[in-house]
């Protein structure tokens, strides 16, 4: 039952299907959202290839442009806004949600695969060659249908897109209710709070490295955690203090003093 599907496509299918499934699993299983996004991009690209293999070259291109291009960029951008450092805790807070979710999801998958498998076991694909020939190609065919049969839906989607853009702007816009605080006010507020009023120690003072993850050393030689940016601290990416360097510095200072 493989008329119309040649060996090349079979190979492409199995490779891309495997990669797409892998990407999907990665999306669900990785702890960090950024990793999930990257796994998803993998799935999207493989799906684009599968579209092309499935005689839908136009959709394959749209998939690459829209999903792996625009949508994934948007996801990553929002991730940057929200904070890449946050990783999901693995503790499930809703009782039984994880077990039930997995169970139901698997049940859904098994039922659909079983149903599709039994329904489509003996069906041969009609192929799109004749449909594509009418207008001289896949893109031309889709274009004709969009601008004739589906014209109303197409116009509606244009309205939808404009509305979505407007909606996104309205939602993301933050109304300023009070006047912007002046520098003087900010300064006073900083002193009134009773916390460290001045600049926080910049990283790398008395250090052999000036990388952003290197803590500044206080006069007694202890590292100041405050000098490392918060996201790095949250991730635990603070470079440990090299005590060999410390002694070397001390020797240099003694030499200078004498």
């Amino acid at each position: 039952m493989s008329e119309g599907i040649n060996l090349g496509e079979t190979i492409v299918f199995w490779v891309c299907a495997g990669l797409a499934t892998l990407g999907a699993l990665g999306l669900v299983l990785s702890r960090k959202a950024v990793h999930s996004a990257l796994w998803m991009a993998l799935t999207m690209i493989n799906l684009a290839i599968l579209y092309v293999a499935n005689s839908a070259p136009f959709l394959g291109m749209v998939q690459v442009i829209v999903y792996t291009g625009a949508v994934m960029m948007l996801f990553l951008f929002v991730l940057m806004v929200v904070g890449v450092d946050a990783s999901d805790s693995l503790i499930e807070t809703i009782k039984g949600q994880r077990a039930a979710g997995v169970l139901l999801g698997l049940a859904l998958g098994v039922l659909m695969v079983w149903g599709i498998g039994s329904a489509l076991a003996g069906v041969a694909p009609a192929g799109l060659e004749r449909a594509n020939e009418i207008d001289g190609g896949n893109v031309q065919g889709i274009a004709r249908m969009i601008f004739t049969d589906y014209l109303v839906a197409f116009e509606a989607t244009s309205a939808l897109l404009i509305t979505a853009a407007m909606g996104a702007m309205v939602l993301a816009h933050r109304e300023r209710w009070a006047a912007r605080p002046t520098q003087e006010q900010l300064s006073k507020a900083r002193f009134l709070s009773g916390e460290h009023p001045g600049n926080k120690p910049s990283p790398g003072i008395y250090a052999r490295h000036n990388a952003v993850d290197t803590p500044a050393l206080l006069p007694d030689g202890t590292p100041s955690e405050l000098s490392v940016p918060r996201p790095l601290r949250a991730r635990g990416d603070v470079r440990p203090v090299d005590h060999a360097d410390m002694t070397e510095i001390a020797e240099i200072e003694e030499v200078d003093a004498t």
């Binding site: 949600q97 039930a100 139901l104 999801g105 859904l108 039922l111 149903g115 329904a119």
Partner: protein, 631 residues
Amino acid sequence: MEQIMPATGAFSLIWVLIALPLAGAAVLLLGGRMTNKWGPYLGVLTVVGSAALGVVMLLQMMGLPAEDRSIQQVAYRWVFADGLSVDMAFRLDQLSMVFVLLITIVGSLIHVYSLGYMEHDPDRRKFFGYLNLFVAAMLLLVLANNYLLLYVGWEGVGLASYLLIGFWQVKPSAAAAAKKAFIINRVGDVGLGLAIMVMFVTFGSVTFADVFGQASAASEGTLTAIGLLLLLAACGKSAQFPLQAWLLDAMEGPTPVSALIHAATMVTAGVYLIVRSNAIFDRAVWAATAVVVVGLITVFMGAIIGSAKDDIKKSLAGSTMSQIGYMITAAGLGPIGYVFAIFHLLTHGVFKAGLFLGAGSVMHGMNDGVNMRRYGALRKVMVITTITFFIGYLAIIGIPPFAGFWSKDEIIHAAFEKGPVIGALLILGAGITGFYMSRMVAMTFFGKARWEDDVHPHESKAVMTIPLIILAIGSTVLGMALLFWGHIEEWLEPVTGIATAPSPLSTAATIGISLAFVIVGASIGWIMYLRREVPITAPRGSLLTRAARRDLYGDDVNEVLVVRPSYWLSRVLVWFDRAWVDGFVNGIAAFVGGFSGRLRRYQSGFARSYALSMVGGAVLVVLALLLVRLS
């Protein structure tokens, strides 16, 4: 069957008879305070207008041959449903004619009297409005040409009676009496309603002409049922046993109301109903017998109650019950008695109205006191009232040549034609009548003055005494006038039919025996209440007296037989409603409420929980699809 003539000449104005007082009632009741000043006079004028029109119609009717005296006027088609068609139509025949005259003329006199009696009442306008409404409804009752329209009038007079008994509704006793009258009347009205339904089912029509025309075709059982239902209606409206309890309490209303509604006209509607339906009672022997039995029982109940009451109005009310008992008995005698029932009704309407208005005049002078034990010796200060009341007294006990003698004697004579026992009982009743009326006159106008300290009796104003005088004249001459000049028997014969039967007693003997009984009864009354001083506080009295003071336990019987069981039934129903109906409903509500309370825990606010439910649903749908497809 007499033929029915279309309305011509003055008869084309039959509807005006009703419309005049109805318009008066509408103006007075809807006009508001604006009409306070002239409203009462308008009320009097409308009724006087109707009376004048009635007299003109009488004259025109007298000019017609006897068989053409049944006139019909159709105003418009009133009810038209499948199979039931009823016209707003009036029938003026000899029977209706005498009623129209009684209602409008006595009504006019009482309206005039009320101008004086109600002079100081702040709600005078309302009173006259209600009186006009009553007159309109009563005229509709007697002029209707079908039972359904009669029913409208029947309910209308019931409403007016209710409104007027409770006219001084600030008094709880008056409000309670009004309700009592209304509720007991409803029992009778149900009888009339059912009778109309049975008529419609049996005859397919409710007009008098159709019902009476086809009465001979119906089975005796049906006719007996209709007759008994009509009797129930008559019992309610005319305060006959066993629905008599309301009339005594109805005396809470203003005295002119007692005179017009609860003595002269409305309470006689039952007699009218039975006489009007003579075609049915003639063919339903058992129903007619029941009528006689009810009438006889009431004759004695009313007379005994009237003998024991110290309240002058209640004593007169007992007398009214008793006299209507005479009429009902006569109506139950069949063609022998119909004419005399109506004859007695007319004379009674006049002399009892006179007696009530006289009692009202006495009360007016006695600061509205009604206790006869605090009256006495009023003949010296109320000359006109005393004379007119005394004429009424002579008329009611049946002394010739006053009106009551002729009519009551005819009834007793007719009763003897039917059966000696009935006649004997009626003669005994006449004796008791003589007793209680003598007692009343003796206690009120003779003997020593037993007035309360701050009471200064005086004669009433001319506006009140002139109606008294007119009614006294009527009480004197009406009997003879109707019998010898008006030939009431021939006049009513086309409507009611008339028959005579050989009597075991000659006319002279009947008169002699009944007169003897009356004189004996009256003498006992005079002797008991004149020879001895009347005690101001009532003595304990015999068992019968005490029973009579309590209306012969009528209220107690009602209490035990009807009110208590109703209470218990209500309690049981309330309990059933609370425990079962409400319990069931509330149980469902509680179940839904509790179940919802648990169910809402699943509204956790977590989007993922909801998503889980969605996926679960999707799994079920897919499963269902597959199962359907694979099976």
